[in-house]
């Protein structure tokens, strides 16, 4: 594994390092907004709807125009991804070409460190369009000397993203069982945030994708059962379903423009996961531990803080709360 000599964030005395976060209104982005704020960064949210009077700046992947929003930024964290798109050309146009344009602007603006959020769905051999688009983003990021991270299924008390969707689906009377091959690598949202903060401040970052997930995969049915229990629901009833049949059905409904809680493409990622967590040793060297799947630590009653230390009431829930308060100023940690 090689590393690039990108220096860690070094600011003049009294100046806080500035992190710009795209997709800051989304699940992962809002988690990171809180974590970076807690770690002493001034946080600049790059969002489609900036709050008036805040330090938010407008950014939309569809146009990918930053218009000076990256000036003075020490760390760019790129989380934005438009999950509403289903046509492959649209996905590529917005999420891949938009990202490439953003990364070029980061280079032009002299941003010293960029962390590009990819996905564990991006792995050699994936047929998932989401995974393929993330791989394309990874190649572009790497060509620009940027750090790519592949988070696993991020879960925590904020319950957003795919984990949140799956948790909501446990309200259904019957759930699909895609077999033993369907499994996920998971990461608690606070561990994810800790890893990102550590990578932002590291003296050098690797040129290979860094997986942020516990190396022990969790079965899909086990995940859903745990999510149901966490939501206070009875154990779900599972029905064996061939993944490709389910994919075909969902895809047909998408073509018919029927609104769905899960995209057909996402189902591929659930049914055909990555074989392993790549380069997880990088995090170990940075002193970041990723804990195994357990909802006992994810709930709001007992969570883990952004710095990785256990703290009651100062974990994922409070991170999300901080995100809600952010639009007022570039957030500065006291």
């Amino acid at each position: 594994m090689t590393t690039r000599g990108i220096p860690g964030v070094r600011k003049a005395r009294d100046a806080l390092p500035v992190v710009a976060i795209t997709g800051a209104g989304g699940y992962l982005g809002s988690v990171l907004v809180g974590a970076f704020g807690a770690a002493g960064y001034a946080v600049r949210r790059l969002v489609r709807a900036p709050a008036a009077g805040s330090s938010d700046r407008f950014f939309d992947l569809r146009t990918a125009e930053t218009a000076g929003a990256l000036d003075g930024v020490d760390v760019l964290v790129h989380c934005a991804y438009d999950m509403t798109l289903t046509r492959r050309a649209d996905i590529w146009q917005v999420n891949v070409f938009g990202t490439v344009a953003l990364l070029d602007q980061a280079v032009s603006a002299g941003v010293p460190r960029s962390l590009v959020v990819s996905s564990m769905s991006a792995y050699k051999g994936t047929r998932q369009l989401y995974g393929r688009s993330k791989l394309a983003v990874e190649v572009a990021a790497r060509a620009r000397g940027m750090c790519v991270v592949r988070p696993g299924l991020v879960y925590g008390s904020s319950w957003g993203g795919m984990a949140g969707t799956l948790r909501r689906l446990t309200a259904l009377p019957v759930l699909p069982d895609f077999g033993r091959a369907a499994r996920q690598f998971t990461v608690l949202q606070d561990d994810f945030a800790s890893a990102m903060v550590a990578l932002a401040g590291a003296d050098s970052v690797p040129t290979v994708p860094v997986g942020i997930a516990h190396p022990e995969a969790v079965g899909f049915a086990q995940l859903l059962s745990a999510f149901a229990a966490d939501a206070g629901r009875p154990g779900p009833h599972f029905v064996p379903v061939p993944p490709m049949a389910a994919y075909g059905a969902l895809r047909a409904l998408e073509v018919l423009r029927v609104g769905l809680p899960v995209r057909a493409d996402s189902l591929l990622g659930l049914a055909r996961p990555a074989p392993e967590v790549p380069n997880s040793d990088v995090l170990a060297r940075l002193g970041v531990a990723v804990r195994p799947f357990s909802l006992g630590r994810a709930g709001t009653a007992r969570t883990v803080g952004a710095a990785g230390t256990e703290a009651r009431g100062h974990g994922a829930g409070s991170v999300a709360d901080q995100a809600e308060r952010l639009p007022v100023h570039e957030q500065r940690h006291p």
Binding site: T2, R88, A89, D90, I91, W92, Q93, V96, F97, V100, A122, K124, G125, T126, L129, G131, R132, S133, L135, A136, E138, V139, A140, R142, A143, T207, V208
Partner: protein, 531 residues
Amino acid sequence: MSTALIIGSGPAAAGAALALTADPVQQVTVVDVGATLEADLDTSVGRLAATSEDAWSPADVALIGRQPVHAGRGVLPEKRAYGSDFPFRDVGQLDGIAALGDANPSVVSGAYGGFSNVWGAQVMPFSEATFDLWPVSLGEMQPHYRIAMDEMTLAGDDDDLAELFPLFDQVRPLPPPADRTARVLDRYRARRALVRSHGVTLGRARLAFRAEGCTRCGLCMTGCPYGLIYSSAHTFDRLRAEKRIAYRSGLLAVHLEEVGGEPRALVRHVGTGRVEQLAADRIFVACGGIGTTRLVLGSLGRFDRAVHLQESVQFVVPAVSRSPVRDPRRTQDFTLNQFNLLYDATGQGVDLCQVHFYEYNPAFLASLPAPLRHPKAGPLTGGLLRRISVGLGYVPGWAAPSVEVVARRAGEGKERLPALEIGREGSDRWPPMLRDLVWAMLRVAPALDLWPVVPMISLSAAAKSYHFGASFPHDRARTATTTDRRGRLAAWDNIHLVDASVFPVVPATTFTLTIMANAHRIVSETLGAPR
């Protein structure tokens, strides 16, 4: 002063020579079989080069414009260089080489400039991800790529291909594209997101030629009369004229050894059979992937054991378009590769298949079925030529059958190269990655109006691509079968292998530029390191 001996005159040798001659303390000698163009053809080329195209003698044009020669069923015809077969001719270097099945027996060139006399001139660096499979990074290669590109003179466009294959700011503009190429690339730009989402990227050719001098005479494929297409012979011509190297032709290296740390080469005079021993402080071996493998196996006495070389297997893919362009026989275009289609099988910038598309040249007409060449078939033939392109594609060496070579002892003593058997390990069926590529081409065909004629896709025979190597790959440590970063096997301290034999992998992107750059890197690192 230090003495250095280079064996060979192909692109690897040129890369080594460039690095060595940059060091004023090096006395450089190049030994080479050194076959050259016949005198009468050379005279014709000289006459054409001295005049403008409108003053060319038709007899001279016919003489040097001889079309490729049929080389067997289902394989590409063998090219001619200025009407001559001298790059392929056996002047002793092919003695004892036996091709099994339909494998290509002409795997070692005895020509001055080697196979770069007949190459397609397509040049690209390897992708950054490809170097993950090497103990050398793209960053470490970059200065050497720059020097090689500067020597070759690169013409191309800064297009989507640059995302994976950096241009290093050294590109000059290409001549205007042929009609079909322009149309395909226009459609690609208009539907780029869709095409890219299928893993397909298009871009113009990247060519090692001095495009600014191109008159679009259409003779690229049989030899540019103005010598605009790079050959490593150009580098050696210059170094010889500047008296920076001593060049000795007519010599075939037959044995290597080190005695007390001093490297020695036994060379045989191809004219007389006399054997001579040459010694130097260092020897750089650049006989080509199979030529070097044979020389090393014989020198180290490794007989009767199969050695596998990766080959970026070649295939031919004809393509048709629904919308016609002007009759290409009545237009003037350069006839080298016009555009590239790149397919990223796994989306990581490493499992790449590449297809070089060629637009019309007279070989198209010659390869049509006889009825279509009949004058009465004129309208039909014209309609076809207005719609066809031909792609020459490559699959990465790690995703394709390998070339298997076995050295056999050819007698006692050191004065003979071993006999060599060449065959293909594995089946002749399409590699899975080629099937994936064809599917991808079919998916993007409506967007590009470029439809692969699937039944006519043909896989070339073993070793026919000329993109083979990795018999003694660079590795972290040098052993009996692997070389260190400086191309040294465990058996030798001062004999360096510098050609594709030391490539850890052979990707499908063209590899001549990397051969030259890597040879330059090996020599540069060697000169910068203590003995």
